[in-house]
């Protein structure tokens, strides 16, 4: 089952606040602090400030060191607090590809807040000695990080990283759809997070099918009325992304021993939602998981736009027939060769503008459908990614968004119309 760093840290803080005062609990909290020290060391090493060695970095490093030292002095144990903290620290590592300097600062702030209740558990009856000194240092450094965060608070968009789903172990195809959906969206987000080693065009085409199916399901969940004919939806915008991608290829014929995990996840998400098309028949957990997963669709579009497509453009890793990309003077010869090997050209950022535009539109329309699906009932369910929703709402509340949204609707519609008009014999494949 997918989880998120925010869920783990919230559970850790709640468990610490309600735990009994016992020697075992204190040992458990001490070991848990050691794991949070590991998480903070990760964050410090990857960078929590745009300025190397500034106050944020020094304070996070000092808190990491203090937590680690205290953890080393705790009796070895592995109870609830330790397991949660260890999972949180591992998740920080897993999320590396998803993070930026500012989102790592948001995570460091959240971890520092979680340190406080854990340190309170340890505080009772701590014998005088190095452990007490390190405990005092942990409390002092945790307060200092939080003080700097008060002066430089992370934004809603940065905090949304806490809700990023991290997939659990692969599960059989026969399991509950309510578990397949969050795991699948977690895998898709992970597959598109890396700028180096981006997914192939074929893989991205599979992801857009999953995004289209999920958008469509979320739209049906958010509204009882069927969309009127001609009305462009988020699902249409994802279809337009696929249409925009059609001319491009990475030119390789790679043999895959196994289907890439992202493609498998996309296929499973599509299959489970297609097999249960009527939301009225869905179980409450499935409705909740579709609503939650839809909150991450704008992030999927953003990652495809700013990581995958940018990487393709920077590396020149795609090819297309000159006839299928915006015409350019220097490509006249290739254009005249038509759909022959000599007509192929290497694609750059300018050629990929239609794909970038389509992804931008898909992001805006996905924001809208995610917000419609998140009715007050859905938001009250446990595990709802409220930070991701808050970040989506902040974007929707931007005064420029309504205009951008109506432009996106028009453009997505035009892209699909243009594609329909051009569908006919084109290149030989």
């Amino acid at each position: 089952m997918a989880t998120s760093l925010g869920q783990l840290l919230d559970a850790l803080a709640d468990t610490a606040r309600t735990t009994d005062d016992s020697a075992a609990a204190r040992a458990d909290a001490g070991t848990a602090l050691g794991h949070l020290g590991r998480a903070l060391t990760h964050l410090r090493r990857d960078g929590v400030s745009p300025f190397a060695g500034d106050r944020r970095e020094q304070q996070v490093a000092a808190l990491a060191a203090a937590c680690t030292e205290l953890g080393v002095r705790a009796p070895a144990t592995e109870s609830a607090l330790t397991r949660l903290a260890a999972a949180a620290a591992d998740t920080v590592g897993v999320l590396y590809d998803h993070t930026t300097v500012t989102s790592r600062w948001a995570v460091a702030t959240a971890v520092a807040e979680t340190v406080t209740p854990l340190a309170e558990v340890v505080a009772h009856r701590l014998p005088a000695g190095p452990a007490t000194q390190w405990h005092t240092e942990v409390e002092r450094q945790a307060a200092l990080v939080q003080q700097t965060a008060a002066l430089q608070p992370p934004t809603r968009a940065d905090v949304a990283i806490l809700d990023r789903p991290v997939p659990g172990p692969a599960v059989d195809a026969s399991v509950d759809p309510a578990r397949v959906v969050p795991d699948a969206i977690g895998v898709l987000l992970q597959a598109t997070a890396r700028a180096n080693d981006p997914p192939s065009v074929t893989e991205v085409l599979a992801y857009t099918i999953a995004a289209q199916t999920l958008s469509s399901a979320a739209a049906r969940l958010g509204s009882t009325d069927a969309p009127s004919a001609g009305q462009t939806t988020a699902a249409d915008a994802w279809r337009a992304v696929r249409a925009a991608l059609r001319p491009y290829d990475d030119g390789s014929r790679r043999f895959h021993q196994h289907t890439p995990s992202g493609v498998t996840a996309a296929g499973r998400l599509h299959a489970v939602l297609r097999s249960e098309p009527d939301p009225a028949t869905w179980t409450a957990p499935l409705r909740a998981s579709v609503t939650s997963a839809a909150q991450h669709l704008p992030t999927l579009a953003t990652q495809l736009l700013y990581r995958t497509v940018r990487s393709w453009a920077d590396n020149g890793s795609l090819i297309a027939y000159a006839r299928d990309v915006p015409p350019r003077e220097e490509r006249v010869a290739a254009y005249l060769r038509g759909y022959q090997p000599g007509g192929l050209v290497r694609v750059d950022a300018t050629d990929l503008q239609p794909v970038a535009g389509a992804l931008h539109n898909a992001r805006l329309l996905s924001l809208s459908v995610a917000d419609q699906a998140a009715d007050p009932g859905a938001r009250a369910t446990a595990g709802f990614p409220r930070r991701a929703w808050a970040a989506n709402r902040a974007l929707l509340d931007d005064p420029q968004t309504p205009v951008a949204l109506s432009v996106a609707v028009q453009q997505a519609h035009q892209q699909l119309q243009a594609r329909a008009q051009r569908s006919g014999p084109s290149r030989a494949r």
Partner: protein, 102 residues
């Protein structure tokens, strides 16, 4: 610097009162979402400052700016004062208010 009966110096009390007033103003701002309003109320209460009426002019300001201003006041306190459990709790509620939906 003279201390008051509860052991807090007047500058610290003034800073807490100012931050609490800003949190209180944010908690009554219509633009703030219910979760943010609750966290602002909790932050204002945590600071244990005497409450007063919220000026109507505060409604014209974005609630996020009010919370940020309150956090800045708390963040500029001496480290020992910021580490006080009341102040730390108020800052944590302030952060949660900033993370909450509008």
């Amino acid at each position: 610097m003279s201390s008051t009966d509860n052991g807090l110096n007047p500058d610290l009390l003034a800073a807490r009162a100012e931050a609490a007033a800003l949190f209180a103003a944010a908690s009554r701002n219509d633009q703030a979402g219910p979760t943010a309003q609750l966290h602002c109320l909790a932050a204002a209460t945590a600071l244990r400052a005497p409450s007063g009426p919220v000026p109507a002019t505060a409604d014209a300001t974005d609630p996020d700016r009010l919370v940020e201003q309150a956090l800045r006041i708390l963040g500029n306190l001496p480290a020992a004062d910021f580490a006080h459990p009341d102040v730390l709790a108020a800052a944590q509620h302030g952060h949660r208010a900033l993370r909450a939906p509008r």
